[in-house]
């Protein structure tokens, strides 16, 4: 079809190749760890994007879901010696269930009021973590969380197993987001963001879709949390504060709300920035603040937040135009 389309394919293919071959470039474990963190934050951004970018519900409490995924996974791995995959699944489901519970108030609440409920939820999660000693080990945190072990193979930084596991999960979540967004589900979510009443007048049960958005978003975030727990092998309540919720939100908005590509860039920028700006000490957060303000002023839709100008493909027509191109050539 159009030239742009093939350019896109080439760009995506080379990024995938680069990601697959990255361990061959011989980066230090420190660098690889940061790359893996970037992957985790991309997953987090993709998760929050479903709510903020597509459905228009602003969550200020995604650190809560991240924590539930992380603690759920770690608890089952440590206390019940469950394998990584099962524990991660449990952590994801737990987080998804909490997403369902937190999604219920969306039936009655909107805007700022909903945001404050999500914020309160994350605060409550943090307090529960600090006090539910028998499960979370209180303020001491959970340590010695085993590295993922799949089919008898230990995945760690040294053998790059954990890097490829990250790539796999990231690919899975990206594909999942893509297929959901490009289906009637995604269309409905975007319609809800645009105009709730008009969406209802299309005969759509918007409450169900808002709750679904919460469940999906929370599950993805919980998945990232479970993976994060095994990567860092130690978690405590400090890892899941309000700052984290805000950081994910900034990634989504900086990269470009309602786009998938934007989540990759947003996460990469905000993870790399503090690393390369380390010599700036505390000034780096001042710079960070200025970057946010300047971005919001000059490019509020985010760096990659443009609307696609490509022709919308209508099946049947596509074949026709193919044939025409062939004839012309």
């Amino acid at each position: 079809m159009s030239e742009k389309f093939t350019v896109d394919k080439i760009v995506i293919a080379s990024i995938i190749l680069l990601l697959l071959g990255l361990p061959l470039l011989g980066f230090s474990q420190y660098v690889m760890r940061i790359v893996i963190l970037m992957g985790i934050y991309t997953i987090l951004a993709l998760g929050l994007n479903i709510l903020v970018g597509y459905t228009g519900l602003v969550s200020l409490g995604h650190a809560g879901f991240f924590a539930i995924g992380a603690y759920g996974t770690a608890y089952f791995m440590i206390q019940h010696s469950v394998g990584f995959i099962v524990a991660l699944t449990i952590g994801t489901l737990l987080s998804g269930f909490m997403g369902f519970v937190l999604g219920l108030p969306t039936i009655r609440l909107s805007g700022t009021y909903l945001s404050i409920v999500t914020l309160g939820f994350a605060m409550i999660v943090q307090v529960v973590i600090m006090n539910w000693d028998s499960v979370t080990n209180g303020t001491l945190g959970m340590s010695q969380i085993p590295k993922p072990n799949i089919l008898g193979y230990d995945l760690n930084l040294a053998n790059h197993g954990i890097y490829y596991l990250m790539l796999f999960l990231l690919g899975l979540v990206t594909l999942g987001c893509y297929t959901i967004i490009h289906s009637k589900i995604g269309r409905t979510l975007r319609a809800i963001k645009s105009d709730e009443l008009a969406t209802t007048m299309m005969g759509i049960h918007i409450d169900r879709y808002k709750i679904l958005a919460f469940v999906l978003s929370a599950s993805i975030t919980g998945l990232a949390g479970g993976f994060y727990a095994t990567l860092s092998s130690y978690i405590d309540h400090n890892s899941f504060g309000f700052d984290l919720s805000i950081l994910i939100l900034c990634m989504v908005i900086l990269g470009g709300m309602g786009t998938i590509r934007g989540m990759y860039l947003g996460a990469a920028l905000l993870i790399i920035f503090p690393e390369i700006a380390r010599p700036l000490m505390s000034w780096r957060f001042v710079v960070y603040g200025f970057v946010l303000i300047i971005m919001m002023h000059f490019r509020p839709q985010g760096v990659l937040g443009w609307r696609s100008r490509r022709k919308y493909p209508i099946p049947g027509e596509v074949k026709k135009s193919y044939r025409m191109v062939e004839v012309e050539e």
Partner: protein, 256 residues
């Protein structure tokens, strides 16, 4: 048999009676207009019929089935869809996507079909996209299919809103002032467009101030003032009705 019938419906907000003991009906295939001065309760009546407001009294039947008290989204599945006085498109979505959201309730595949891209997903989705494209073509919007809704001209946005309502599969379309803000040529096109809809088998309930449109397309007209029906009849009957002239007293803009 009446397609839609309202019997003695009333609605008041606090002390204000917005709709007062109103009766009307539409037969299948008709174009029926509701006219009246601003604030007469016409849009409130639309909001009642589409389930946004609940009546205090009275009954509403669609195909002899009571629909008053139903949730707005359920009323759509009974075959009633509407447009809004101040256009409410999904402005950040493409023209075809607006139509596809309209077709949502007839787009029959599950969440997992979408997630895992099953055969059913492609079949249904492709069919709906083709139908949507065809619908847009029938309204002369085929060239705008890939555009974003907020880039359309005013007249095109009005048409798209109607297309979106048609996509729900509704047989009865409630159009709230479709000619508002249109120039002479555009409202002339709209008149032809509404006649075409009628020929396609749609039943239309119209609120409109543009009397050129109303008098030319309507089979039957109800006149509302202060929430009450003050007259009803065929266009020529309404044109010679004194009560109607009184309601529009001094309004030289209106040429009945």
């Amino acid at each position: 048999m009446n397609l839609l019938r309202a019997e003695n419906i009333s609605l008041s907000f606090g002390g204000l009676t917005a709709v007062n003991d109103f009766n009307f009906y539409i037969n299948e295939g008709q174009v029926v207009s509701i006219i009246g001065p601003n604030g007469a309760g016409k849009t409130t009546l639309f909001n009642i019929l589409t389930g946004i407001y609940k009546v205090n009294q009275g009954k509403i039947y669609m195909n002899e089935e009571p629909i008053d008290g139903l949730h707005a989204r359920k009323i759509v599945s009974k075959g009633i869809a509407r447009t809004f006085q101040n256009i409410r498109l999904f402005s950040d979505m493409r023209v075809i996507e607006n139509v596809l959201v309209g077709a949502h309730i007839n787009t029959d595949y599950s969440f997992f079909d979408g997630l895992f891209r099953t055969k059913r997903f492609y079949e249904v989705e492709n069919k709906k996209k083709q139908e949507g494209a065809k619908l847009l073509e029938s309204l002369g919007l085929e060239g705008r299919l890939s555009d974003y809704a907020d880039n359309l001209s005013y007249g095109e946005q009005r048409k798209l809103e109607i297309a979106r309502a048609m996509a729900t599969g509704a047989k009865l379309l409630l159009l709230d002032e479709p000619a508002a803000g249109m120039n002479h040529q555009e409202s002339e096109d709209l008149r032809v467009f509404i006649s075409n809809l009628k020929n396609l088998g749609y039943t239309i309930l119209l609120i409109e101030h543009d009397m050129r449109v109303v008098m030319n397309v309507s089979d039957y007209i109800y006149v509302m003032d202060y929430g009450k029906k003050i007259a009803e009849g065929r266009p020529h009957e309404i044109q010679s009705n004194e009560a109607v002239a009184m309601a529009y007293l001094g309004d030289s803009e209106v040429h009945l």
